[in-house]
Symmetry: C2
Subunit: 330 residues, 2 copies
Amino acid sequence: MKKFIISFILLLICSCQSSESENNIAIVIHGGAGTILKENMTPELEAAYIGKLEEAVMTGYEILKAGGSSQSAVKETIIIMENSPLFNAGVGAALTNKETASLDASFMEGKNLNAGAIAGSKYIKNPINAAISVMEDSPHVLLSSDGADEFAIKMGLDTVPNSYFITERRLNSVRKAKKDDMVSFEDSFINDSKYGTVGCVAIDKMGNIASGTSTGGTTNKKWGRIGDVPIIGAGTYANNDCCGISTTGWGEHFIRNVVAYDIAAQIIYDNKSIKEASVKSLDKVMETGGDGGVIGLDNKGNISMEFNTAGMYRASVDINGKVTIKIYSD
Amino acid sequence: MKKFIISFILLLICSCQSSESENNIAIVIHGGAGTILKENMTPELEAAYIGKLEEAVMTGYEILKAGGSSQSAVKETIIIMENSPLFNAGVGAALTNKETASLDASFMEGKNLNAGAIAGSKYIKNPINAAISVMEDSPHVLLSSDGADEFAIKMGLDTVPNSYFITERRLNSVRKAKKDDMVSFEDSFINDSKYGTVGCVAIDKMGNIASGTSTGGTTNKKWGRIGDVPIIGAGTYANNDCCGISTTGWGEHFIRNVVAYDIAAQIIYDNKSIKEASVKSLDKVMETGGDGGVIGLDNKGNISMEFNTAGMYRASVDINGKVTIKIYSD
């Protein structure tokens, strides 16, 4: 009888471990990287950021825990951040030189390398939904400008007037940037203290990785500027063979260094860990004069949240269920 | 005296070799890949393609030989192809669903990873000039749509009415595609027999690599579709540490597989030759269901021209001055 009980306990332990290793669910999010310093933050605003990051990451995690797909987890998590005026995506997006919101988003699935993205949308309420719809309902990967809005309307996605996205804080910010422009327009957008984005990477119980990123781009952007967010390989990448990545920062440098895919390539071709690869890619961004951050997870659920700015809004739930929510450098 | 003569001859040989290794100039171009079959080609049209490919590649090569920069060689070579109605770029570009030309181009410099691109321009006579201007005259990498045209006008680049780009051949092609749409719009653009682009990669006497690509995109494109051409890392990449790449083919698959940078990454992280890396990246494109071609050269001037379509308009001059001009599979 004693033997039987011991065997039973051992069996229980084994099946728990096995179930754990088959269900390495994990999720990681960012809400932008930049000059985020504690001395510039009120306790109320800090609490608001922490609260929203927690709400977003836990929403995705609960979906994964219930057996939902990584696509669903990434989508619902990003929608929460797009709907919050705290982040530079959806409501509260940074404004263009014409004082309008112009929204970019992208999404990629690791199981089949399917991807979709939009750039320069003015009316799509939740750009991440449009990115997924481009992937699923069109033969294309990237739709832009009026065409992206036309497509979203045709697909029956929620649209809103452009004023829906505009907050007083962002209006003040772009007006200040435009004023500074008269002296030095070329660098004004760099000085925006939160040229961030929102992003999410998740791995579900099936081992499928998905990544998504959404942004209003840089304050005072002109000429239909497209940053790294809707660029697969720069702002977003997912591949079950290695990892999922979402980036935030000075987009031009993330494009030139093909950051999201450079991290994946180091894992695939150079056997690097996701943390080592993320650090090296951010070093390359710094070498060309840029900065920012990257979040990601590999196909074992190992999480990485790296940045070379003062801070990055970020949160994660790892494969052991450990929740992390941070704003500043460690 | 005999010893002196031998030493002198040896010195001559050494300096010749040294001068050769310092001057490994080379250039490679493509004019699109697709279902290019000899039985569909008239001798006159074939001669026209061969002639224009030769004119383009030799123009760039002469610039390199005279000590000009790879930037200059790539620019002037691509302008010749943009100005020819034979290729899907500039005059003779494939037309959108609205029967207009919508032009994309990108450019990258290997010495500093600077890059510039435009997407969806309607009025810029030579899109490659605009891509270079975005790189040199703006803090951005990618400008799109009306904004790209506004920027080009501000920079004083040549603009033309959209009708300048439209040829009868392309009008017929898009009208046929639109008619077929009624049955199956999703795949109509794939069947376009030359969904190509033009591209050029060169290495100059300083060892600097530059890459450029230009296209009208796919016939009957809608919703502001952006393909791989203006995407750094997908359609174009250059880095003196490894190689320069320009791609052509079914753009969506080149984006999803981050083809241009995937080739570079294999050279950097996996010690592959440019030919091996190009073949492997094209295999990945085929795995997701796409096809096309890539041209490139590494920092020793080794040239690669690979494709998995029936043919690819292509030409090169290698480090020994050997000229190659081809259309069909070997």
